[in-house]
């Protein structure tokens, strides 16, 4: 964008300043100040000694790695594949799309509660289905750390898969058909056309979305809090929910902030990478 090609003067400059004032106020009062406050609260080194001494913290870090690693990558990969499925020109596939999008537009709290009750054990719908179809007793999902963690991940993917599928679907629709036609002439069909044509064209977007989704998933609270509830015995907590428990259930606000701020060494490189990527894609943000 040719910024600086023309200097703003007089009334224009005044207008431009007036237009950005609301956002500047929001950034300073509701973003910069809380972030600064959080960093100040979490700056005492002894807090981190307390964290490491708490066994729950280590469990939580491992859970967070699983939740983010699987929750993001599985979701993105499935979204990429499914966007190809929804490109197929069939009337019934087009009719299926609104149903597939439904989880995204559904309120998260209510959806997570439904997941919780669906998996509540033999009274839940999932175990009911398992018994009816295969005649087996389903497990008590939230009595086991790995089943609980897995339930959280599945619920999270369920909620956000449609959103990213839509993004990839929209991107695929912008790829001109003649590129595929040329690829067919060169003998690339099916999988090979995906690997050599579609994926290179979507790779930049895929990376951007993965980075953004990683940031958002690291901060995910609702799913874990309402599906497994962090149980059994706190063994499925992630950083966001553990910070909340420290701060509001155990009345240790500084420790809660320190727990979530310990993710900064992961967060900052991702943000830097994201901003670089956005710049190289000629996007002046």
């Amino acid at each position: 964008m040719p910024s600086g090609a023309r200097r703003l003067h007089g009334p224009d400059f005044a207008w431009a300043i007036a237009f950005v004032v609301p956002y500047a106020v929001v950034v300073v009062a509701f973003a910069a100040y809380p972030i600064g406050y959080a960093l100040w609260m979490a700056s005492r080194p002894s807090l981190y000694a307390d964290l490491v001494a708490d066994r729950l913290y280590l469990t939580t870090v491992i859970n967070t790695l699983f939740f983010v690693g699987l929750g993001v990558n599985l979701k993105m990969f499935l979204a990429l594949l499914l966007s190809g499925f929804f490109m197929r020109r069939r009337r019934w596939i087009r009719a299926l799309l609104p149903i597939f999008i439904l989880p995204w537009a559904l309120a998260a709290v209510q959806a997570c509660i439904s997941f919780h009750w669906m998996l509540i054990g033999e009274q839940g719908l999932v175990d009911g289905v398992l018994a009816a179809l295969f005649g087996i007793d389903g497990p008590i999902w939230f009595n086991n750390r790995w089943l609980g963690l897995g339930s959280n991940i599945v619920a999270y993917i369920w909620k956000w898969l449609p959103f990213w599928t839509l993004i990839f679907l929209a991107a695929r629709m912008t790829i001109p058909r003649r590129i595929y036609e040329a690829a067919v002439v060169d003998g690339a069909t099916g999988l090979r056309s995906f690997i050599h044509v579609t994926f290179p064209l979507l790779a930049n977007l895929y990376l951007l979305c993965t980075l953004l989704s990683t940031l958002w998933t690291l901060g995910e609270f609702t799913t874990v809090y309402l599906v497994s509830g962090g149980g059994p015995a706190g063994s499925t907590e992630v950083l966001a929910t553990l910070g909340f428990r420290y701060a509001f259930d155990a009345s240790k606000p500084a420790l809660g902030v320190a727990a979530v701020m310990s993710a900064l060494p992961v967060l900052i490189p991702i943000v830097i990478l994201l901003m670089r990527r956005l710049q190289t894609s000629e996007l002046q943000l």
């Binding site: 431009a16 950034v27 809380p34 959080a38 609260m41 596939i93 993004i167 809090y225 996007l283 943000l285």
Partner: protein, 289 residues
Amino acid sequence: MSLARGRRTRHREILTEAGSMVLGAVLFVWSLLPVYNMLLIALDPEEGEIEFAGNLWPSEPSLDGFLETVTQEARYLEDFWSQFGNSVYIGLLTMVLTVLISSLTSFAVGRLRLGRGSLLTSAALLTYAIPAAFLIVPYYRIMHSYGLADSLWAVVAAQVTFATPFAILIMQLYARLIPLELDDVARIDGASALQVYLRIYLPLMAPALAVVAFYALLLAWNDYLYPAVLLSPRNMTVAVVQGQLFTDTDAPWNAMMAAAIIYVLPPLALLFALRRYVVASLTTVNSGI
């Protein structure tokens, strides 16, 4: 093309078709199972534990749950409509303010070409360096010092803060479709910056505005953490009340699920109303990346 080869392609086509049918069926069940579960519980006639009997379909479907919710007769749902009102208030204000603030900012930076304006919008992304849920403790304290303790505006401020960076990103991407020459022509005709914003920018940006509006509403409508911490019980939203009771087996879950179903409808209606815009702007924004 030889006959054998023709038959092979034909076989392959049938296989692909069958495969995509199976996938379609799986996606159908996957997407609707939790929704079906909500309906199953909401249609149960009795109060108490009977809602969770492992039934696969409602044996005696009844609308009592819905009726008790709407008339506020069910336990825990005595204030349903005032809580619903709070949710609507927060959602609509977040939506309007996010659209207003992000469109003004992206207009000033992208169209008026405010020098160093891009610094401001880069700072926008930095907001995401620390996820919203990580900032709840400082927010709680800061809202007290701003005199916004237990105010719906505190929640609105938080939601707008976290919605605007992504909103500005979408607008900046979409605005590249609108030629700058259009602004210049209007300026030569004597239009002020404000007039260009109102008469040219906003109407042409309609699809992007629609997406941003929906995104902001959904963010506020979906959130549990911020209203739960920033509001007191007398100012609660529907989402928080339901979230706080989610493990309570004594709650009347047929009515609770009926309330949940009523609560999820407004965003669905909005998405349906805005569907053309959503598709249009998703496609154009993508071609920009």
